[in-house]
């Protein structure tokens, strides 16, 4: 009798389909546009890739060596949720020295597993379902998905070449509603290489205060500016409390694979992020924190050396792009050039695909980073001088063939 009931019950059950068990936001999320290009380039032999968003330098040896030594001593346990105290102290000291902002190393900083985690935590800790975050584009590909995964609604704002891709306060103001909670800033910018000026930020501050917003400021390229220092929104008078500074060692110290980032800001905001972090991550990897501490304490010279090399390549590459007919404004930060392809009558994607197939140079089409990136290409100059020169030669041949 019992068995029969079971059989009858199972008869009406739908066949198993794992796809029916995926969260709706995740299911509806389009795959990153960068993925398609990755697959195309991976199959191509002899291609020069200007599509890499990380330093070509290996982490300096003294940093790797400090990590190896720490492993030999057996330091393989968890750290505090917030991260090692020495590392938090070292970062707070440097931020105090370089930016003139004091953060309490016990209450106002959290060490995260890369800046990526910090971005995710920042949105999850501050957005209620249906609330909005404003995101200037073109930008790094993770912000909008992170907002959606946090239950929020991304409101993108285009930035334009005429302003050298600095986000304008009036464009932000136009997108703010009563549901808007935060404004994301990511300068120096990936993919454009743009940096903000103090007066741009001051204009934004008015919009931020009027609408009672939090600024989530991804400053992972802060150390990589040329000719002019980076300025953070938190450095404006009275704006420290409203800003979450997100930064890490990936780009400045060539430490992408270590996954060390941090968030700094008001104790209530950092505390809320720490709450999520303690349940989802527990702590950033201990061995990577040890390496990060070494980099913070004695990595300045190597960092400056790498920045100098990027600056040389930047001049070489940007002047080269303009020479061969790919118009490019001067990028003042990060390690990207963002030339325009509009005059060729091809979309970013068509241009990038044909350049790859015909001359084996891989760049990333600008539309991958948002609609306002259409008509541009992201070219990373975090690759050797020889490759940059060779890439320019091949691009010149391609352009002449158009």
């Amino acid at each position: 009798m019992k068995q029969q009931t079971k059989k009858q019950r199972l008869k009406n059950v739908l066949p198993w389909n794992a796809k029916d068990h995926i969260n709706q936001s995740v299911r509806d999320m389009p795959p990153s546009g960068i993925r398609k290009f990755f697959d195309l380039v991976s199959e191509m032999k002899g291609a020069i890739s200007l599509g890499v968003g990380e330093p070509d330098f290996v982490t300096p040896w003294h940093v790797r060596e400090a990590c190896i030594y720490s492993l030999e001593l057996g330091n393989t346990h968890y750290t505090s949720n917030k991260g090692m105290l020495e590392l938090r102290e070292a970062i707070c000291q440097e931020v105090s020295r370089d930016m003139g902002i004091d953060f309490d190393c016990n209450e106002e900083i959290l060490i995260t597993t890369g800046v990526s985690e910090a971005v995710d935590l920042a949105f999850r800790a501050t957005l209620n379902p249906g609330e909005e975050a404003v995101v200037p584009e073109p930008c790094y590909v993770a912000y909008t998905p992170d907002i959606i995964l946090a239950g929020g609604v991304p409101k993108t704002v285009p930035t334009r070449l005429e302003n050298e891709f600095r986000v304008q306060a009036e464009d932000v103001a136009r997108r703010v509603t009563e549901k808007t909670r935060s404004l994301l800033l990511s300068y120096p910018n990936n993919p454009t290489g743009a940096i903000m000026t103090r007066s741009d930020l001051e204009d934004l501050a008015d919009v931020v205060v009027e609408n009672d917003l939090i600024v989530i400021s991804d400053e992972v390229y802060a150390e990589l500016t040329y000719s002019k220092s980076h300025i953070s929104f938190a450095q404006l008078e009275g704006m420290k409390e409203r800003t979450l500074i997100l930064n890490g060692l990936s780009k400045s110290h060539a430490m992408t694979g270590w996954r060390i980032g941090y968030a700094m800001g008001d104790p209530a905001l950092v505390g809320a992020m720490t709450k999520i972090h303690q349940y989802t991550m527990l702590c950033a990897p201990t061995m990577a924190q040890v390496a990060a501490l070494e980099a913070m304490q004695s990595g300045k010279d190597e960092m400056l050396h790498m920045r100098h090399e990027y600056d040389l390549r930047r001049r070489l590459f940007v002047s080269g792009l303009n020479r061969i007919g790919l118009d490019c404004f001067e990028p003042k930060g990060a390690f990207y050039a963002f030339p325009s392809v509009q005059r060729f009558g091809l979309s970013s994607e068509e241009f990038a695909e044909r350049l790859l197939y015909e001359q084996k140079v891989a760049v990333v089409p600008g539309n991958v980073f948002g609609e306002s990136g259409e008509g541009f290409l992201r070219c990373s100059y975090a690759t050797s001088r020889e490759e940059l020169i060779e890439a320019l030669d091949r691009m010149e041949i391609f352009i002449k063939s158009l």
């Binding site: 990153s32 890499v52 968003g53």
Partner: protein
């Protein structure tokens, strides 16, 4: 360091036009500055770093440590300059520590170098003692690691 020198220090083959592109200067300006530094003796020579291990023909290097008697008027200079004139000698340096001069010598064989030291260097007036260290293997020269190492891989496209 001077920014042009820094580039040439790493790559003696860098041309004025390449250097100009890196520094945002004009080619003429760079060429003129290089010429000035050559004339002033700041740039002394353009060299090629050779990985001798990869060649069949035998080349032997040795580092000599010399104790030298200080001369009343010329200090170490007279004997150091005398040693420097031998074509076998690649470098001569005054050093701190237990010895006075460090001399690098190049020869075809260990025997070659041993005879050279015994016949030419040791008998010199002022040279009190010599100690010859033959170089067995070179791991790094002029900032370049010579042992083969696989290049770490990066993903070809990343956001």
């Amino acid at each position: 360091m001077h920014e042009i020198l820094e580039i040439l220090y790493e790559n003696a083959k860098a041309t004025p036009s390449e250097i100009a592109a890196l520094l945002g200067k004009s080619e003429e300006e760079v060429a003129r500055e290089i010429k000035e530094m050559e004339d002033a003796g700041i740039i002394r020579k353009y060299i090629t770093l050779i990985n001798w291990e990869k060649l069949d023909q035998s080349v032997v290097f040795a580092v000599l440590e010399l104790k030298v008697a200080l001369q009343r008027k010329t200090g170490y200079d007279a004997v150091a300059e005398r040693i420097a004139r031998f074509s076998e000698v690649e470098s001569v340096r005054l050093i701190s520590g237990g010895h006075d001069l460090s001399v690098t010598v190049r020869g075809k064989s260990m025997k070659d170098i041993a005879y050279f030291v015994a016949e030419k260097i040791a008998p010199l007036d002022g040279v009190q003692s010599t100690c010859t260290h033959f170089i067995l293997k070179s791991y790094k020269e002029h900032g370049a690691i010579l042992t083969e190492q696989p290049k770490p891989e990066r993903l070809v496209i990343t956001p």
